[in-house]
Symmetry: C2
Subunit: 203 residues, 2 copies
């Protein structure tokens, strides 16, 4: 029902709706939402109607109702429990990031394989031994912030432990069974693509 | 000439070609490249022919020649000079990341507006005052790792200083002139989209 492009816009709509809600604004027009995202008004109307909402002429959509619908779809209302694997440089930054909790993504556990880190407090979390993660837990998602050469092994461990969604920062393509979803963020590639466009070489 | 989907695959081809080069492999087939990226063989052949390379039946493409072509397109051969703005949690992780330098993206300066950080050494860089960044520098790209509410102001400063490519981590849409390119990475949105797919709610 929801296309991938529509889905990828929902977090941005939600962020703006939350700001409106915080300042007590009751209604928002599709034109205003479209402007915030930098897309056409027609596209925004289409997105919002896919969500089952219709605006009242001249007043627009109810901020509260639209906010709740999107938050529910994105799982923000229920809150997600996230396991972070890798208490290194990147892991330390991710642990401290308020933005995850604000959007219902709560890092509830941190695991590593370094004996110097296991059992110690990092970012308020007692670091667990990755090899002790069994199936008896209530986490659904994992963030992989370990070196590239061990990332596949870590992914295998997570799949065996029953995690079904992985956000991967290691510059490797992870192979997982069909019921598991992986999204890879490659920050170096982002910079390389930026450099390419800047050169105007795509002309 | 180069489509956006083809461009977004180049960093992954390059990463694999570099690994082959490091182990002394001279040739690679389109089928092998396709398998690494998880795309079809036909798509890889199309990508590589857009780059002006053709394989020899049975042997495939020259690893060295293909590697050099892609590295040049992505600006790796010349090396890029990158300004990092924001020496906070995320900035600290990004400063220490070897992966950027390996791919020609060199963080050559770090700027902040916090008097406690300016003039101090962070990750081997003496932190500059963002307000001192004039136009007399040789940096082309910037990474923005500052809080959302100041990100637009920082972007304005960078545009005035002549930077034409921005990798933005703040959860805000930045408004810049047409000659400046912005790519935004929203890590919370990545988790939200992962959570949505995991629920299978898109069925
Ligand atoms: N630092 C960054 O800003 C950055 C940016 C982009 C991508 N990355 C990628 O993120 C990953 C982490 O980078 P980093 O800079 O934090 O590295 P790091 O070396 O600082 O941290 C890696 C952590 O992973 C742990 N680890 C290693 N093997 C493990 C295993 N088998 N099981 C569990 N934990 C294990 C280590 O003990 C360490 O704590 C790397 O793949 C890197 O390429 C990092
Ligand atoms: N920490 C993470 O893992 C993470 C993850 C995703 C996104 N982000 C985003 O990245 C940004 C940085 O996050 P953080 O956790 O590093 O925050 P932080 O508060 O630890 O660091 C922010 C840094 O920006 C500096 N700064 C503030 N205003 C500035 C200005 N006007 N000019 C120059 N420097 C200025 C501060 O002095 C500080 O050093 C935020 O927008 C956050 O939403 C962070």
């Amino acid at each position: 029902k929801l296309s991938a492009p529509t889905l990828s816009r929902l977090p941005q709509y939600l962020r703006y709706l939350e700001a409106l809600h915080a300042e007590g604004t009751g209604h928002v027009t599709s034109a205003e939402l479209a402007d915030v995202l930098g897309v056409s008004d027609a596209l925004t109307r289409k997105d919002v109607s896919t969500l089952g909402h219709s605006g009242r002429a001249g007043r627009g959509y109810s901020v509260e109702a639209l906010r709740y619908t999107i938050a529910r779809i994105l799982g923000v209302t229920s809150g997600r429990r996230v396991l972070l694997v890798g208490a290194g440089n990147l892991g330390a930054a991710l642990m401290s990031y308020q933005g995850f909790g604000d959007r219902g993504m709560n890092i509830t556990a941190v695991a590593d394989n370094d004996p110097e880190k296991i059992g110690q407090l990092h970012g308020g979390h007692k670091v667990l031994d990755i090899n002790d993660i069994g199936t008896d837990h209530d986490m659904e998602l994992a963030i992989v912030a370990v070196p590239g050469d061990v990332a596949q092994g870590v992914a295998d461990t997570l799949v065996a432990a029953g995690l079904t969604g992985i956000l991967n920062f290691a510059p490797r393509r992870l192979h997982v069974p069909d019921h598991v979803i992986v999204r890879t963020v490659d920050l170096s590639a982002e910079l390389q693509i930026l450099a390419f466009h800047r050169d105007g070489a795509s002309g």
